[in-house]
């Protein structure tokens, strides 16, 4: 299959790209890494009259640290993040999750911003930014605003972006002291879409009690699913194996909304969610010490 015909522009600056998008609105699409968009165009699931290729905008490709926070340009390639020592040191959850994003050939092109803005419910990076409490910079030529990652995802492949806006930066806050993170997922083959996956973040207080916890699932609803009841029951408690089991069970049985598919029933996804959440919480707890 081949894409339908479209016009193409590859501006060198963010300002020029935003001007084109403002002019053409929903008739134009941004092309980031293209690893989801181009397959969809090949199948003609997506047709657009103008493709605004943002790969030449060098100013959106960076990783740097400022006041303990990690600032990542939206057009930074996933493979670069996978290799980046700063990401490994400051955002171990992102470092751990990235190798699970499709295959190496895809990560060589795919970008962090593209993956987040695409908002595939089975994707790893939306889960990571929600779990880490990231904030996202949204720009247009009329405005610039910040939105919390948790508020950015609105539903299946739907995000808080107007027709003239672009996600330009991802900011990951510094992890609090005594914080451990873990990412686990299960796929039928390496690189396939995961049947289930979860990120866990655990912060302990000085006495070793859980001060804060978070469990965010992929493929468990219309977007990254933050299991708030399950993580709420961890707060102020010692994380015993029994409590971890109860929390994982609550998330898997009551909070996630797996839809099931040809490869896995919803019931099997709930089973996976429980097993994976236990593993993730246990690992995050060990790393928090």
């Amino acid at each position: 299959m081949k894409p339908a015909s479209f016009d193409y522009a590859a501006p060198n600056s963010l300002e020029a790209a935003l001007a084109l998008k403002a002019q053409h609105g929903d008739d134009a699409k941004f092309l980031a890494g293209g690893q989801s968009l181009i397959p969809a165009m090949n199948f003609r699931l997506v047709q657009t009259s103008l493709l605004v290729d943002v790969n030449n905008i060098r100013e959106l490709d960076y990783v740097h640290e400022s006041n303990g926070e990690l600032h990542i340009g939206a057009m930074t390639r996933q493979r670069r993040l996978e290799r980046d020592p700063l990401v490994k040191a400051r955002a171990p959850l992102l470092h751990e999750a990235i190798p699970w994003v499709a295959h190496l050939q895809i990560r060589n092109r795919g970008t962090i911003g593209g993956s987040i803005a695409h908002a595939d419910p089975a994707a790893e990076l939306p889960v990571v930014v929600v779990a880490l409490g990231a904030r996202l910079k949204i720009q247009s030529n009329r405005d610039s605003r910040w939105v919390a990652a948790a508020d950015f995802f609105k539903g299946l492949f739907t995000v808080d972006l107007a027709a003239d806006e672009m996600l330009t930066e991802i900011v990951l806050p510094a992890l609090p002291l005594r914080t451990g993170t873990a990412f686990v997922e299960f796929a039928r083959r390496r690189g396939d879409y995961a049947l289930m996956g979860v990120a866990a973040v655990v912060t302990l207080d000085e006495k070793g009690m859980c001060q804060d916890g978070r469990l965010v699932f992929l493929n468990a609803g219309e977007g990254p699913l933050n299991a708030k009841q399950a993580s709420g029951m961890l707060r102020g408690q010692m994380l015993s194996p029994k409590l971890i089991d109860e929390s994982a069970t609550l998330a898997a049985q009551n909070e996630i909304q797996p839809m099931g598919n040809v490869h896995a029933s919803a019931e099997y996804q709930r089973h996976l969610a429980k097993v994976l959440a236990k593993r993730a919480l246990k690992t995050a707890l060990e790393r928090a010490h």
């Binding site: 193409y8 590859a10 181009i38 190496l104 390496r190």
Partner: protein, 158 residues
């Protein structure tokens, strides 16, 4: 039809200037415009890996990238591997010796995935090899002989 765009790129060390329609996939440009039919097109949606080429030295899928995006970049295809008509690249030689191919359709994609992989990791474990080739589908070999070929070229044949 959309406006044509001028592109200038290097493929296997040779510079080309062409006019392309934006929707032309890089894989189709290489095959139909340049006649480099060694890059194979399997699934056309980035799953099978048969169309893998090097873009500035890194393995990418040429079926989910537009030719117009390769403007100003360096591409290497399977045709660029062998030094001459008679001398295979070491990874090609290893595939030959270890019987790493049967029908051969997937082979160019495997080779172009493995070249940068072995450059970055010259002494891979079997697990690393299998992970590296996880984005390439082969329906003949069962992968065992491909893994053997990689071990052979990495000097790790037991």
């Amino acid at each position: 039809m959309a406006d044509l765009h001028s592109i200038k790129l290097t493929v296997n060390g040779k510079t080309y200037e062409h006019q392309v329609e934006p929707r032309l996939l890089l894989a189709d440009f290489l095959r139909h415009e340049l006649g480099l039919s060694g890059t194979h097109v399997g699934c056309e949606h980035g799953v099978c890996g048969a169309c893998t080429v090097l873009l500035d030295g890194e393995a990418v899928r040429s079926c989910i990238m537009f030719a117009v995006q390769a403007n100003g970049h360096e591409i290497m295809t399977v045709e660029g591997l062998a030094k001459s008509q008679t001398e295979l690249h070491p990874i090609q030689q290893a595939f030959h010796e270890a019987h790493g191919l049967q029908c051969g359709f997937c082979t160019p994609g495997f080779l172009m995935t493995l070249v940068p992989f072995l450059k970055e990791n010259p002494n891979p474990t079997e697990k690393e090899i299998r992970e590296a080739i996880s984005g390439n589908l082969c329906r003949c070999t069962g992968y065992q002989h491909i893994v053997e070929a990689v071990k052979l070229v990495a000097g790790k044949k037991d």
